[in-house]
Amino acid sequence: MAAVEKQANKQSADGSIWRELPWWLIAIIVFLITMGILIFVQEEFNRAFLFVKGELGSLEDFPDLVAMIGKGISVTIYTTLVAFTFSLLLGLLAGLGRISSNVILRNLAIFYVEFVRGVPTLVLIFTVAFVLVPWIAELIGGENSGVSMNSRAIIALAVIYGAFLAEIFRAGIESISRGQMEAARSLGMTHGQAMRYIILPQAIRNILPALGNDFIAMLKDSSLVSVLAVRDITQQARLYAGSTFRFRESYLILTFLYLGMTLTLSLLLRWFERRLGKNV
């Protein structure tokens, strides 16, 4: 017994602190700090940074917060948030559709999911923006040109991620044991009540980490909307690089901004998962 303890002590004395340290995180943070310093002290970096984050217009043109974090970053965050909210809704509906006993609903949902999964994201963005939206506008008699490019971008992202989230919702619902539905039904609840009050609350708790991951993925994929000339940070960086030929500064700063945002989010997510794990 004592020998085992000694062995264990020796191992921890062997520098297991060095082994346990999250070196990957330290390296990323060093990169971020270096970039921060560069932006602060280097004039070229500073100029590129101000342009990419989108210091357009004067303070009066935008709400204070937008003016502070910059219009480019605001567009990126706004697009992601709104698109993700809609994709949650679409995903839930399509996920429920996939496991529905109604033949039409089920096939409709599978059609949607498989269709979207089989087409590249970039191609879908073009298709939604230049085919689907004009087509729907024509159907409901609206003005096609009245839909801004940013709205089209949001619709496209929501449609694409809705299909991915549908699979997550489906898996989450199927992860709940059949006995839960049976217990709820045998108490006289309708299928809908059982789904809403018994199955979904448990399923959503199970899939929260996966949803968080997809939110981060969407934040990154929101860079694709720059192809619609939506002035998110990617578009800003492209514009700046194109006009000044400062490619290194532009794209390093773009990398810095995305990495800063995704790293913050994924650390938050880890913390949240750990808290959730304690409660289950």
Binding site: S177, G179, Q180, E182, A183, A184, R185, S186, L187, G188, M189, T190, Q193, Y197, I198, P201, Q202, R205, V280
Partner: protein
């Protein structure tokens, strides 16, 4: 066909799972206030019959009537019938995201449309009845198996059912917890609840059952009062079964 005292009437029930025939023509009548215990080897179809009584399984052919209401009829509102038929499962199936109290109130509020105060009052009465009112704010994972099963019973009772179904309620429990659940069930039986119980607990059958139904291979082999069936079985299959489980 109907006797006004019959609250459950099963008429020539057949059930296939794919090509496997689990139930091969079972008929059974249960009168008001009667306690019927179904025993038999595993795979004999006893759970399937029980699950047909509240329509968790849909019979391939045959009919089930609760209080004269034909369950398989398209016109029947199955949710309404189910509020009158409580069900207790082998795996408890408590709702893990809700506290004990919420487990017992949620269906009262959603299905019986009771106000929150009334639902809580009734829930506490039922938790009192099964002996664990002090666990009202605990989550299912904080309870022992026996406590969970008692909460599950309280959850069903809170709906004021006319019939209680028990599907091997003690089979997933540690031995020292079986008694606390059986005690609650005995109490219910004494109070005159109509009960259909699938179980291997012969002690319970002897103490509480009006009739014991022995099933094997999808059919009812023999039905009798517990003492008659245990001490003087008529069929060879029944003799063999009881010699195996009562032999020690």
């Amino acid at each position: 066909m109907f006797d006004s005292n019959d609250v459950i009437l099963i008429d020539d029930l057949h059930k296939y799972f794919g090509y496997v025939q689990a139930v091969k023509g079972v008929s059974l009548r249960v009168r008001q206030g009667e306690v019927v215990v179904i025993v038999g080897p595993s795979g004999s179809g006893k759970s399937t019959v029980l699950r047909c009584i509240n329509h968790l399984e849909v019979p391939t052919s045959g009919a089930v009537y609760i209080d004269g209401i034909h369950l398989e009829s398209k016109k029947t509102d199955i949710n309404k019938v189910r509020t009158e038929v409580g069900m207790v499962f082998q795996q408890f199936n408590l709702f893990p995201h809700l506290t004990t109290l919420e487990n017992v109130t949620i269906a009262q509020q959603l299905v019986r449309k009771r106000g929150k105060e009334e639902a809580v009052r009734i829930a506490m009465e039922q938790l009192e009845r099964v002996g664990i009112p002090e666990k009202a704010s605990a989550y299912p994972r904080q309870l022992s198996g026996g406590q969970q099963q008692r909460v599950a019973i309280a959850r069903s009772l809170a709906m004021n059912p006319k019939i209680m179904l028990f599907d091997e309620p003690t089979s997933a429990l540690d031995p020292e917890m079986i008694k606390e659940v059986l005690d609650v069930m005995l109490l219910l039986a004494k109070e005159g609840m109509t009960m259909v119980v699938v179980t291997h607990e012969m002690g319970f059958a002897r103490a509480a059952a009006d009739r014991v139904v022995f099933m094997d291979d999808g059919v009812v082999v023999e039905t009798a009062a517990p003492d008659d069936l245990f001490t003087n079985p008529q069929h060879d299959r029944t003799k063999l079964f009881f010699s195996k489980i009562l032999g020690h």
